[in-house]
């Protein structure tokens, strides 16, 4: 391949494109515009919800475009990858230049950069040159870290400079963005985010993942000794608190009372107080209340594809067909919610598989296919959903379960580092702009002629004010206030 000195090849074109601010602006605009979609269309609902809301056609279109989980879709993530590439390539392109400006001391002061500029202030002073020079030197060195005095034929030039290194601030900001993205990737590759409900007094070591709905086994067990909720006088909740114990090999290793905003952290896993609820496992309590009418359930065994029907009632456990374990309906809720979403009337149950931990099953009466999402071995749905009138009266002795959010995110420290760097970088960039001042003093008989000038990398108007203040301190006439 012939080497071209102008390197106008397609690769170079791509490189130029990826180092351009134009692309940055396009990416920002597209990211902002597409992000709006995900706020107009609620994310991560069940297919039924979408189907009902948008109809079959749009359901299919949106589904194909991954609109229902768009922030995790390939195309949205690709935009973020492009942004990262843009930042990295742009920095590679520009950093050497900025570095040179910052660290090349010799090119520091050039009087030509200041002469004959519109903002310059000139005046005559009664003070002779020497006196003027020492006042000016003292003033300049007070605010400017670097000063330099250069004699000229008829007088002297004084240069002052500060915060030259702040030109590197944007590189801190830009690398912080890359750190955020890396941290997010680490989190999604090596972390998890799940939830579990533990009735008081019970122990679990399994959680359900939010993303896939799958069961995840923890390297330790969590026992909930006690759950408590307290209320203010006006009825709003004051505090949710769970007494948790972490067990490793059935040994208690840590005990902590957690509340919202104060989680338990152990072995890189964080356990947060997220929700709570009441349960009735107590059969004796159930006998005191009128027995609900029978509820007809459909049970489909995933592996064999067989469907069975089962009549049951709340609080009455039964064996699942094909030895799939046990199931019991625990309660009926007129306004149930699932992962923060209101789903209306629902029956809740506990499924205890042949092996493994019991799982809580939610059966909304409105969405027959809801339990499919759980991707369990048994898919349960309610065939006869007229359970409203049969809702059991709440019993006196309430038992609570605590709802815990269990997460692990090894990327969080990378993200936090990014946060700190971003703030530092923005501060340096915005408020510590590189400034230079220049004062030239020449003898005019017994008097001296003074020129004051200045440049700033950012916020030039403020620099002009500083030049004016400096010249007034040196004896120039004050500016008229309008």
């Amino acid at each position: 391949m012939p080497a071209s000195s102008t390197s106008a090849g397609p690769l170079h074109g791509l490189y130029k494109w990826f180092s351009s601010v134009t692309l940055t602006i396009i990416l920002f605009s597209v990211l902002a515009a597409t992000s709006i979609i995900g706020t107009l269309i609620p994310q991560n609902q069940t297919p039924e919800v979408y189907f009902r809301a948008y109809g079959e056609f749009f359901y299919k279109v949106f589904s194909a475009l991954k609109i229902f989980d768009m922030y995790h879709s390939w195309w949205f993530q690709m935009l973020l990858v492009f942004l990262a590439l843009n930042i990295v390539i742009c920095s590679i392109d520009r950093l050497p230049g900025a570095w040179k400006i910052v660290f090349n001391i010799r090119s520091r002061f050039k009087s030509s950069r200041f002469k004959n500029k519109s903002g310059n202030i000139e005046f005559l002073s009664e003070q002779p040159l020497r006196e003027m020079q020492s006042t000016a030197e003292a003033l300049v060195s007070k605010t400017y870290g670097h000063t330099q005095v250069t004699p000229t034929k008829k007088g002297v030039m004084i240069f002052g400079e500060k915060w030259r290194w702040s030109r590197l601030g944007v590189y801190i900001v830009h690398s912080s963005v890359v750190l955020l993205l890396i941290g997010a990737v680490i989190g999604s590759l090596f972390g998890f985010d799940g939830f579990v409900q533990i009735p008081e007094g019970e122990t679990v070591d399994m959680i359900r993942l939010r993303s896939t709905g799958k069961i995840h086994k923890l390297p330790f067990k969590i026992r909930c000794d006690d759950f408590n909720v307290s209320f203010y006088k006006n009825g709003s909740p004051k505090e949710f608190r769970s007494d948790l114990v972490i067990l490793e090999n059935d040994q208690e290793v840590i005990k902590k009372r957690i509340i919202v905003n104060d989680p338990l952290r152990y072995a890189g896993i964080n356990i947060f107080q997220a929700s709570y609820g009441e349960i009735d496992h107590d059969h004796a309590a159930h006998e005191a209340i009128p027995a609900p009418e029978e509820i007809l359930l459909s049970l489909m065994i995933q592996d064999t594809g067989m469907t069975y029907q089962q009549k049951t009632r709340i609080g009455k456990p039964f064996d699942l067909p094909e030895g799939m374990g046990k199931f019991v309906l625990t309660e009926f809720k007129a306004e149930a919610s699932f992962m923060g979403q209101a789903i209306g009337e629902a029956l809740l149950g506990i499924l205890t598989p042949g092996e493994g931990q019991p799982v809580e099953v939610t059966l909304p009466l409105r969405f027959a296919n809801f339990d499919k999402m759980r991707k369990g071995n048994v898919f349960i749905s309610v065939l006869e959903p007229n359970a409203r009138a049969k809702m059991p009266v709440p019993t006196q002795d309430k038992r609570y379960y605590t709802g815990l959010e269990v997460t692990r995110d090894p990327g969080v420290w990378v993200v936090y580092t990014g946060f700190i760097l971003m703030l530092i970088g923005c501060f340096v960039t915005f408020f510590m702009s590189h400034q230079q001042v220049f004062i030239e003093i020449t003898t005019k008989g017994k008097k001296s002629h003074v020129v004051v000038a200045g440049t700033a990398y950012r916020n030039k108007m403020a620099m002009q004010r500083r030049v004016r203040q400096l010249s007034e301190k040196l004896g120039a006439e004050p500016e008229h206030q309008e």
């Binding site: 992000s35 004051k238 905003n261 929700s275 997460t407 946060f419």
Partner: protein, 280 residues
């Protein structure tokens, strides 16, 4: 007097101030604007007192917390910050007519807080999720940022008004406005100021979310809209680096940015299917 009574009165003081500034500008009587300044200072003092009083009242009720926990309190704090930033600008740049474009915003924020039937001015106890110092940092950072963006919005409108000068000969009341270049620079400065606080607001919000729910980012509509706002202002900052993106275009972007701020704050509540502010 209760804090909410005091703050309702302050609403009218701010209204008077806004009216005076506008009058001074439209009828070309810069001296009248002096009155605007004094009423603005009185309004600001009362606003400050109202916030402190409310804080004390919450302790008297036995549910003491910083008055930054609901829509009403955040609007009052927003008006406070906006008035403060404006007064600093007025003293620094010695131009009172800017007040004609900023004080009406202060008045609107307070009027909305005090008069809207949808906004309760009752002092309420904190629900568990809101009991966090990160939340206080979060609210302060966000609202300082929003206030700076509101100032930038006012300056952008001024710029666009001033822009018509070339067409309309003789200038007249446009003469009272600061020079275009000064408006442009001040606009940019306010946006930088707002950007750093919005960034801090998003970051403290993320840290709070991580301490309360175990994830620093969840693409919830409020979070997403604050990110959209952030993208708009990041676009503006970078657009300024390109040739030709000065003045008018920056003013338009600044207005779009403020629209995004408003939507992040109010509009999000009208979006379909989401959980409310701070629910568990």
């Amino acid at each position: 007097m209760t804090s909410s009574n005091l703050l309702s009165i302050i609403t009218f003081v701010y209204g008077l101030s806004a009216f005076t500034y506008l009058f001074a500008w439209i009828f070309k009587k810069p001296d009248v604007a002096r009155l605007g300044t004094w009423t603005a200072i009185i309004g600001f003092a009362g606003n400050t007192a109202g916030i402190i009083l409310r804080w004390i009242e919450s302790y008297r009720l036995g549910i003491g917390h910083a008055p930054l926990s609901n829509l009403y309190e955040s609007l009052v704090f927003f008006a406070f910050t906006l008035a403060l930033i404006y007064l600093i600008i007025e003293f620094r740049y010695r131009n009172r007519i800017i007040g004609a474009f900023i004080m009406p915003l202060v008045f609107l924020a307070m009027a909305y807080a005090s008069l809207s039937p949808n906004i309760s001015d009752r002092i309420q106890p904190l629900i568990p999720a809101l009991k966090s110092n990160w939340l206080i940092a979060h609210v302060i950072a966000c609202f300082v940022g929003y206030a700076a963006f509101a100032v930038a919005f006012g300056l952008s409108i001024m710029y666009l008004v001033k822009q018509t000068e070339a067409v309309e000969t003789g200038g007249g009341w446009l003469d009272l406005l600061p020079k275009k270049q000064a408006l442009d620079e001040l606009n940019h400065q306010m946006i930088m100021f707002g950007f750093i606080f919005l960034t801090a607001g998003i970051i403290t919000g993320a840290v709070w979310a991580n301490s309360a729910w175990g994830r620093y980012w969840g693409w919830d509509p409020k979070e997403t809209w604050s990110l959209i706002t952030w993208f708009v202002y990041a676009t503006l900052l970078h657009a300024r680096l390109m040739r030709g993106w000065y003045g008018k275009r920056i003013a338009y972007l600044s207005i779009i940015g403020f629209a995004a701020v408003i939507f992040t704050y109010f509009g999000v509540n009208y979006l379909p299917g989401l959980h409310s502010y701070g629910s568990v």
